[in-house]
């Protein structure tokens, strides 16, 4: 067993990793609460946006313009998807709606592989200006980007919770996610509220994609399927509480990195999100059946 001082640096990196998971985990829950769809294409949309930004930067487009395009791409693509596939699937089970987003994931994943092939030892990366500089904790430099990543999680958590609770649009979104038809009967302009929810969440996907491309790696496979690991945090919160998602993401990140110096477990540490999620879900379900919050509870 390594000494405590050997664990110390991993607290810093674990928090940074927790921030990475929180960024997409919180995004997933926000979207689920606003639209009733578990948007599994979250990672793929962000990845594609980041690749487009990368391609633009290679083409000498100024950085800020490329980042803007990345974020808008996320918003627009998600809006288009929501407008086209939202209505026909609206009355289907949450599960079917989630699986449909896997369809979008595969389409985007294939498209990225075609457009930006990994040939010839090509390596791509995105650097944000906030990478340069930062401050030192326990002998490690923490970049501003990492801090923004973590902060974005906090801001998102607080912001969206407040938005969903206190604004009219937010209330409408929650109502709609719960039951679209009754909400419509109550005179809420369902299509417009839905469009706002999809667009807003797409913007989140775009921002997360850009940050994750910097923090993790600009790689289609990694970013697309990072969503599976991040999902663990969302699952621990049972897709409901944004705050619990955030906390779970931080815990997963910390546990993951604190296992690094333990030789026997170090190669198994990537199982952390899955194992923690499985334990949490099975623990919750030990007495009663857990099902998606949908009509049964409505």
């Amino acid at each position: 067993m390594p000494s405590w001082s050997e664990f110390e640096p991993f607290i810093v990196s674990g928090l940074a990793l927790g921030g990475v998971y929180a960024l997409s985990g919180v995004g997933l829950v926000v979207l689920y609460r606003a639209t009733g769809v578990l948007y599994l294409a979250f990672g793929a949309v962000g990845a594609m946006g980041a690749f487009i930004a990368w391609a633009m930067i290679q083409g000498s487009v100024p950085g800020w313009a490329a980042w803007l395009v990345c974020v808008l791409f996320g918003g627009l693509l998600t809006l288009i998807y929501g407008m086209i596939f939202g209505p026909p699937l609206a009355r289907r089970d949450p599960l079917v709606r989630a699986v449909a987003t896997l369809g979008l994931t595969l389409v985007l994943f294939g498209a990225m592989d075609l457009l930006w092939p990994p040939t010839g030892g090509a390596v791509r990366s995105i650097s944000l200006p906030t990478d340069n500089g930062g401050f030192t904790v326990l002998g490690l430099n923490v970049t501003w980007t990492q801090l923004i990543g973590l902060g974005a999680g906090v801001v998102l958590t607080a912001g969206t919770a407040a938005f969903l609770r206190f604004t009219k649009l937010g209330t409408a979104m929650r109502a709609m996610a719960n039951d679209r038809e009754i909400t419509a009967t109550l005179g809420v302009p369902v299509r417009r509220v839905e469009a706002a929810a999809w667009f807003g969440c797409g913007i989140l996907a775009g921002i997360a994609g850009l940050l994750l491309a910097d923090l993790v790696q600009l790689d289609a496979t990694t970013l697309t399927f990072l969503v599976i690991s991040s999902l663990a945090a969302a699952l621990i919160a049972r897709l409901r509480s944004i705050a619990v998602t955030f906390a779970a993401a931080i815990v997963i990140g910390l546990v993951h990195d604190l296992l690094t110096p333990i030789t026997a477990l170090t190669n198994y540490r990537d199982m952390t999100p899955f194992v923690l999620a499985a334990i949490a879900l099975l623990w919750v379900s030990r007495h009663r059946t857990v099902m998606t919050r949908s009509r049964e509870e409505a």
Binding site: L38, F85, P88, L89, R91, R92, D93, P94, L95, V96, A98, V99, A100, L102, G103, L104, T105, L106, V107, L108, F109, G110, A111, D113, L114, T221, F225, I228, S229, L231, A232, L235, R238, L239, N267, Y268, D270, M271, P273, F274, V275, A277, A278, L281, L282, S285, R286, R288, T289, V290, M291, T292, S294, R295, E296
Partner: protein, 378 residues
């Protein structure tokens, strides 16, 4: 699967599903199955190059996997996003036993199925308390965990110890095949026979008590409970049966590939598997065969045409969206309808031709059978 309490649409959907579920029981299908099996076993091998023989063996093996997935999704409404991991467990067990023992191949195949079934049941017991989306997601989590664990444990390559992995080997021995099926065509026939047996096993289940219980659960779980059906038991039964046949498929895969690597398997595979199972059709046993053809034969053909594999990923994604929005019963249901429609079109054209006009100028009977997919509503 959540209970749909909505009026009109849900009821029609349920009625439609019931109709779909009943379909394979028509007697005419037996003749089709016999002809199909005879064709696959005797006519196909001499016609195929060794290239396609290899891929068709994979089709036979993966049709067992999609069969298991179809059983879960179509019959009991349990969406699994972890079948790729179940297949890995079967393949690992099969490979380990084939290296470690000199037992006859069929024994190993059954043992791999049983071990996988055991693991599947142990996982399924608590997991089946979860419903719908949560169950799908927890299977995805478990698939992720298994993939990471096997990447570190590695697949057996003839080494010793529990894992059977020798990292220093510079001459990795191949995994053995049955003595009667050493060559590729022979192993292909062997795989087809195993697949037929697995289909027969599932079919037997569907025609008897478990099948009826599953159908009741699929329609409405509370109603099934009220009717005195032990829903947990029958759902676990479906889960275990699917694990068993997927484990069998895994052992067959070990014999086909002859070299297994953890890098062959990824969590995405489970997603692709669900995609092709849905595209093939989960309410119909033929759907499993179609799903396997999509997953294994289509890439082989596209490869020969020089088309990038990425296009296939895109196609699978579009297929999922299409199936979920417009054609819930998949190609297995769509194709006969379209074929019938095409047949009707052709006869009409032929009739129109008989009176004498030289040739209808615009007669495009060669259009893809999939295009008119919006006619699915009765």
């Amino acid at each position: 699967m959540t209970v749909e309490t909505k009026g009109g649409a849900a009821a029609t959907a349920a009625a439609q599903r019931l109709r779909l579920l009943r379909r394979p029981q028509r007697p005419a299908h037996l003749a089709v199955v016999v002809v199909f099996a005879a064709f696959a076993l005797f006519a196909l091998p001499p016609l195929m190059s060794l290239y396609y023989t290899g891929y068709m063996t994979l089709v036979a093996i993966y049709s067992i996997v999609t069969l298991g997935l179809g059983l879960l999704v179509g019959r009991t409404g349990l969406y699994s996003l972890g079948q790729g991991a179940v297949l890995q467990i079967g393949a690992w067990t099969g490979a380990r036993l084939l290296f470690a023992t000199s037992q006859p191949f069929p024994v190993v195949v059954i043992e791999a199925g049983l071990v996988t079934m055991g693991i599947g049941t142990v996982i399924g017991l608590p997991a089946l308390r979860l419903r719908g989306l949560y169950l799908a997601l927890i299977t995805l989590m478990l698939a992720g965990a298994v993939t990471v664990a096997l990447a570190t444990v590695n697949f057996p390559n003839g080494g010793g110890g529990f894992t059977g992995y020798n990292g220093t080997s510079v001459h990795i021995p191949p995994i053995r095949r049955p003595s009667i099926a050493g060559t590729d065509p022979a192993y292909y026939r062997y795989a087809v026979v195993v697949a037929l047996l697995m289909f027969a096993l599932v079919y037997a289940h569907l025609r008897t008590r478990p099948g009826r219980a599953w159908a009741a659960i699929r329609q409405s779980e509370p109603a099934a409970l009220a009717a005195g059906i032990n829903t947990t038991f029958y759902k676990l039964w479906a889960w275990s049966l699917a694990s068993f046949i997927t484990g069998v498929a895994g052992a067959m895969l070990a014999g086909q590939a002859r070299y297994l690597y953890s890098i062959n398997f990824s969590t995405q595979d489970s997603i692709i598997l669900l995609a092709v199972a849905l595209m093939g059709g989960v309410y119909n046993l033929w759907g499993a065969v179609i799903g396997a053809l999509l997953m294994q034969l289509l890439p082989a053909i596209l490869q020969n045409l020089g088309v990038s594999y990425a296009w296939l990923t895109i196609l699978f994604g579009l297929g999922v969206l299409q199936v979920l929005t417009t054609a819930p019963a998949g190609i297995a249901d769509q194709f006969p309808k379209d074929a019938r429609r095409l047949g009707g079109l052709l006869t009409r054209l032929a009739r129109a031709r008989r009176p004498g006009p030289p040739r209808p100028p615009a007669a495009p009977p060669g259009t893809p059978p999939q295009a008119p997919s919006r006619g699915e509503a009765t």
